[in-house]
Symmetry: C2
Subunit: 133 residues, 2 copies
């Protein structure tokens, strides 16, 4: 099962990466931009929680986004915290990426069919929740 999901994950990632390649954006990075676009300014920790992503992984992805100038970081009163949000450039990059992402998403959805699509979303979420128990 692990092998099956990893294989599917690799395949899918290749599809989305390819769609986003014109922008030099990876699927993972798009996901982070999207989360930021929805959440506004958030603590790095909360962002990790949202994406079920290890905080150390997030640190490095944010480093990349930061290098491209797509996010702003600042500390609040608690100097340990990092508050993250999209920069102007990040907002723009995200908006440019959305159509490409939509296109890949729609094509995949068509190929899988509505039923499988929804079932798959449900099951993957269930797996993600498993680990919390």
């Amino acid at each position: 099962m692990c092998a099956s999901i990893r294989r599917a994950s690799r395949t899918l990632t290749q599809i989305y990466d390819q769609a986003l390649r014109p922008l030099g954006l990876r699927a993972t990075q798009f996901t982070v931009l999207q989360a930021l676009s929805i959440a506004g300014e958030v603590l790095q920790g909360d962002l990790g929680q949202m994406l079920a992503m290890d905080s150390t992984t997030l640190t490095r992805t944010l480093e990349i986004l930061s290098r491209h100038g797509w996010i702003d970081k600042r500390t609040g009163e608690d100097l340990r915290e990092r508050r993250i949000r999209l920069s102007k450039a990040g907002q723009l990059q995200f908006e440019k990426a959305v159509p490409l992402w939509e296109k890949a998403q729609a094509s995949l959805r068509r190929k899988l069919g509505e039923g499988q699509w929804n079932a798959l979303l449900k099951f993957t979420n269930e797996i993600t929740n498993l680990i919390k128990e």
Copy 2:
């Protein structure tokens, strides 16, 4: 969708990696050993085909397995080819890993339920096949 599958893949990988940690074996590596155990001696390219794994990724995973002495490599008549098979130590390592893997697998299967389990396997395989078209 890509984010969902990647998230599930991360979660699942953590579960399997943790189960195999006593042996210092990663889920990916176990998958390769398993494939070799089933296939016997195979061309590196065929192995990649089997696992739907990029050949460059496979090269490095095999490098790790080789470093541990778990596989043997040799060339056939065609000097470009690499023929891979489990070594004695690799066979042993695989046999030690199977029970740990089974345990993780069974636990997960119980939590998901038979129906979801099978559906998930089916869907992930379908996604993997999508890219071939």
